[in-house]
Point group: C2
Chain length 277, copies 2
């Protein structure tokens, strides 16, 4: 059965969005729709233009016999700026302040459409980077890590605070929490990470950076490489910031628990994303 | 600026996939593309046909002044059956067996494309149901819960084993694990669930069902209602199954740790999904 162009465009859009960073040979689409390669090429031209024009992503064409197309997510600043601004307003509400300068973010992190969008924005910064795996620490960072990883087409590994039977053998380290100065364990399943992996660390919140430092030490045990660090929210003005190279969507400052005051602004994402982090 | 039909189709597909179960007025699209409502109606006709034909979902048209369109995910059996079959083959490998009859699923649950697809399949069974929130228990169920919730356009609430400062005030219960018979706590942030919410419970693995029973008791404390229970994998032939009404994608049987043997087959999903669970 033959497909009309309109049907092909709808189906190809769905397919490409679900298969980011994967090389799809033209012949795959030609067979899927019983159409000539020349028609598929024209379709892809329309897709490429629309994806770029609408701030959905980019479509890379690889010529030759082993060629095809690859979709990369790329959220435009026109779309991401208002989203980050809206998040800032949500976060600035004083009743989010918890003891110790922490913030109640559970409702925001529990909203899949917010998390997916934040994930697409973060993934835009790394779409062209060489990344093998996204790493996060249980529990709150998990949804964002998956949202990023699904756009980068890589697996997620989850570091835990304790070992569980369902993980099989594990590797464990101890790290010092940057803000509480307590010593805590960090555990990762041995099977879950291959030597030499290029790892993007993703987390929901970074205060002094102790947790991220812990993840870096754990990665050394696995002889893996830190390819990037991305957080949704960073608490600014921490005197001893342990981690330097990272991107954040949102930055807190002047957190005053007694006065119930927080200043919330755009993170360093819009400055850093273009410069290879 | 005016948009051609082909561009509109690509952009509308992206928009609808990202906004499931939300009523989008025709005027929204008419303004977005500076196009006549009649053209938008024709576009939606093409989308509806293609979504159904390709097993992507359904498009419901609500007529009248307050009307519009709603996209519902609906993965066809032609697509979901081979996927579940492939998962069965992955799971049947004997080196996944861990002490106590547990299975190593970390690599499968760490693969966002598998988790997303499983989530779309489970969400297909509940797309038309009235569900306010998806609930899961930390840690392993979280990715699947988000994958389901993002298709149902509802928030996720995460039950924990311990309380954390970042959760604010919590409600806690004790439950008896069905397989180990141990008493364990279960904690949920007070702010995270409204009274009377209709809750879909999602988890990665169900053995005797003690964890799910615990979540049900916790929901009683919140005066919330269980609208459904869905798991990726269930262990069959547990003598005292505590939970009756659920759907599963995969079923284990004859787990023999000493002989390193597992039987893996399709769960009850394909039997139950049509019958309102």
């Amino acid at each position: 059965m033959k497909f009309r162009r309109s049907e092909r465009l709808v189906d190809m859009t769905t397919y490409l969005l679900e298969h980011p960073r994967q090389l799809i040979p033209l012949t795959y689409f030609a067979e899927r729709y019983s159409s000539a390669k020349s028609s598929i090429s024209e379709d892809l031209g329309i897709l490429k233009e629309t994806f770029e024009h609408r701030g959905i992503g980019t479509l890379q064409t690889i010529p030759g016999a082993a060629g095809g197309v690859k979709f990369f997510v790329k959220v435009s600043d026109e779309e991401s700026k208002p989203f980050v601004q809206q998040l800032c307003e949500m976060i600035a509400k004083p009743d989010r302040l918890l003891p110790g300068g922490y913030l109640y973010l559970t409702d925001i992190l529990g909203n899949p459409s917010i998390v997916q969008k934040a994930g697409r924005i973060i993934a835009s910064a790394y779409a062209a980077s060489s990344i093998d795996v996204v790493m996060t620490v249980a529990t709150k960072g998990i949804p964002l890590a998956y949202a990023v990883a699904s756009q980068l087409n890589v697996p997620v590994v989850i570091v835990r605070r304790d070992s569980k039977v369902t993980e099989g053998p594990t590797v464990s380290i101890n790290y010092v929490s940057g803000s509480t100065k307590r010593i805590q364990p960090m555990v990762l399943s041995k099977r879950s990470l291959a030597e030499g992996s290029k790892v993007l660390i993703v987390d929901d919140f970074m205060k002094a950076g102790g947790t991220v430092m812990g993840m870096k030490s754990l990665l050394e045990e696995f002889k893996a490489i830190v390819a990037g660090i991305a957080v949704l929210v960073e608490a600014e003005k921490i005197e001893e910031r342990l981690v330097d190279e990272y991107i954040s969507l949102i930055q807190l400052s002047d957190v005053d628990v007694r006065e119930k005051r927080i200043n919330v602004k755009e993170g360093n994402y819009f400055l850093k994303k273009g410069r290879g982090k």
